[in-house]
Symmetry: C2
Subunit: 158 residues, 2 copies
């Protein structure tokens, strides 16, 4: 884990995203959290999944965080911003990152079943993708994956 | 054009989506409109693009319409609903349609540059796609395409 990417283990944007993921899990949401930081590293938005709360299948943590960051700046471009998210973005969120022109995507756990960056349609690799962020995967992967594993084990009652 | 899909030329959900597209264009948005109908054909939501208005790069007409329809029903599943949209959905919106479990997607103009259904990452064809709506493309294609063509010609001052 590069400290320049994530701060120390207990501070920094990925720690904040993990905290958002835990809070989401406590609300009965799939525990995924996301943070958008500006060019100076300041947190512009931090969100957890809110799919159940809002009856909104699109309310993934990273889409909410990008929308909040853009709204807060009054600009639909986040081209000097980094998105931190505890799980590999799905194709919807990867394409949204491209539409918001996010400069860099840092994610935690890889998602072979639902991911859209390193798996599935690999959104940023499509010839038709107009903006490709830098991508760093696997940051604090074990913690992010453990949160999800424990959540789904709990649902199954194991 | 099948009348069961779209009503008559001047009524029906695709006509309504085209009206939303025109209204969006008049607001300075890329002229795309979308409608979600329920199992009885009733309009649950109708939206135009609102990317500029809300500084929200994800505020595509069809994502807004699906969110509004789901919120109105208090359910994040739209598995008995049809999405009508004047332009082939981008990969973000196609994946959102899958997440909302939309039953059927009916679109107007094909979008070789930005589309994500028949072009680009072809979201519904990915092995990792968990829900594949029925897809009907090219409904009132010429009208939908003309709206976009005229809008972009206007921006270029031609």
């Amino acid at each position: 884990m590069g400290s320049t990417e994530t701060g120390t283990a207990e501070s920094g944007p990925m720690a904040r995203a993990l905290a958002e993921a835990r809070a989401a899990g406590a609300r009965g949401e799939v525990p995924v959290g996301a943070v958008v930081t500006g060019p100076d590293g300041a947190v512009l938005a931090a969100c957890g999944n809110a799919v159940e709360a809002g009856a909104d299948a699109s309310a993934h943590a990273e889409l909410l965080a990008m929308r909040a960051a853009a709204a807060g700046r009054g600009s639909r471009y986040l081209d000097d911003c980094t998105l931190y998210v505890t799980l590999e973005p799905c194709p919807m969120c990867a394409q949204a990152a491209s539409l918001f022109r996010i400069r860099r995507v840092v994610f935690g756990a890889y998602d072979p079943k639902g991911g859209g960056v390193e798996h599935g349609p690999r959104i940023f690799d499509a010839a038709s993708c107009h903006h490709r962020p830098e991508v760093v995967g696997g940051v604090r992967e074990r913690e992010a994956a453990a949160l999800l594993r424990d959540f789904f084990a709990g649902l199954r009652g194991v």
